[in-house]
């Protein structure tokens, strides 16, 4: 069968093609949501694991400070002479509170996305939890730093041989703090940053789909 094809035929064929192949929903939203669910579920598991490691490290520091305090404790004295030990115990207490809050956040996170509530709510809940855990860590870190500064500054002002020596000590201390804070931020970004971003993007995707 010979047929003369013109642009009209092409346009008609294209119209049919568009309506049959492209305008019908070629992608089922349920399937897309399922794909987001499995990807986000893995992200949440991974974030939870990283948070567990973080909390475990904090608990390890608590034991370390307690151990240092006990080893340095001079039982011949009560308070005077044991300032360092008491300081380490206070530090351990602050770390213990911080670690406990981190642990609570860890327990609050889901093991993937299997619960009854909606996928979007689930994602939002887990994102909020991990973000608040990181805020808690930052606040507790700053608190610990303030305490550390208060303790050492008061000691250095009495111990320092000259104002110059005091300034050098403070300068070194500040520099180390800045470097440590930078490293902590970098590690958080590496461990949590991209996964939190993916969670946020999945939340937008789901909101758009709904």
């Amino acid at each position: 069968m010979n047929k003369n094809y013109s642009e009209i035929d092409l346009k008609n064929a294209w119209k049919d093609l568009s309506s049959k192949r492209f305008e019908n929903k070629i992608l089922e939203k349920e399937e897309i949501m399922e794909a987001i669910k499995s990807k986000s579920g893995l992200n949440i598991i991974s974030l939870k694991k990283s948070l567990k490691i973080k909390a475990s490290f904090c608990f390890a520091f608590v034991f370390l400070f307690i151990l240092i305090a006990l080893l340095n404790f001079d039982y011949n004295y009560k308070f005077t002479g044991n300032e360092d030990s008491y300081f380490h115990l206070l530090f351990a207490f602050i770390y213990a509170v911080g670690s406990f809050i981190l642990y609570k956040r860890y327990k609050k996170m889901d093991d993937g996305l299997y619960s009854e509530s909606s996928l979007l709510d689930n994602l939002k809940h887990n994102k909020a939890t991990i973000k608040s855990a990181l805020v808690v860590e930052r606040i507790w870190g700053i608190l610990a730093m303030i305490l550390l500064y208060a303790f050492y500054f008061s000691r250095w002002t009495t111990e320092a041989s000259s104002p110059k020596a005091l300034i050098i000590r403070i300068g070194i201390f500040f520099s180390i703090t800045v470097v440590l804070m930078y490293i902590a931020e970098l590690m958080n970004k590496k461990k949590f940053g991209s996964k939190i971003k993916e969670l946020e993007e999945d939340i937008i995707r789901l909101e758009l789909l709904e």
Binding site: L10, R21, I32, L208
Partner: protein
Amino acid sequence: MSDTLQNAFMKEIQENEAIIHKVIGLYVDVEEDKRDLYQEVLLQAWKSYPNFKRASKFSTWLYKLSLNTVFSFTKKVRKNTTQEITAKNIPMVMPTKDYEILYWIIKKLNKVDRMIMSLHLDGYKNTEIAEILGIDSNHLNVKIHRIKGNVISSFKKIHNE
């Protein structure tokens, strides 16, 4: 994104959703990749929408964005498992209906010609096609004429076989 902007975005996306499906359907054949790409285009559109200055129609903007997203996606995953639609992986069973034949022929074109043809058949002006594809509009008339000629002759050939 403010609520008003979000509502405007949702409305325009719903009205032009077929563009996303069309671009994806023309370049990707694997269902899983189609799903990923659909989400990705929506996400990219969501992110870029506040910066959309209305210098062109929303549909033109969405076409361009979908195309860029699909191209960068296919480039990124080509080395892995995704198969872009090319003449090599089109099934050899000859289609019978006109629209199926057209789909088959268009998918055999290279990726730029494929989009030129689909935009032309969608009724876009040459200047708009040039803007979407980021190409010079001077030679577009000749190019469209040539591609159309090839498509029509392939059409005839298939029908006469």
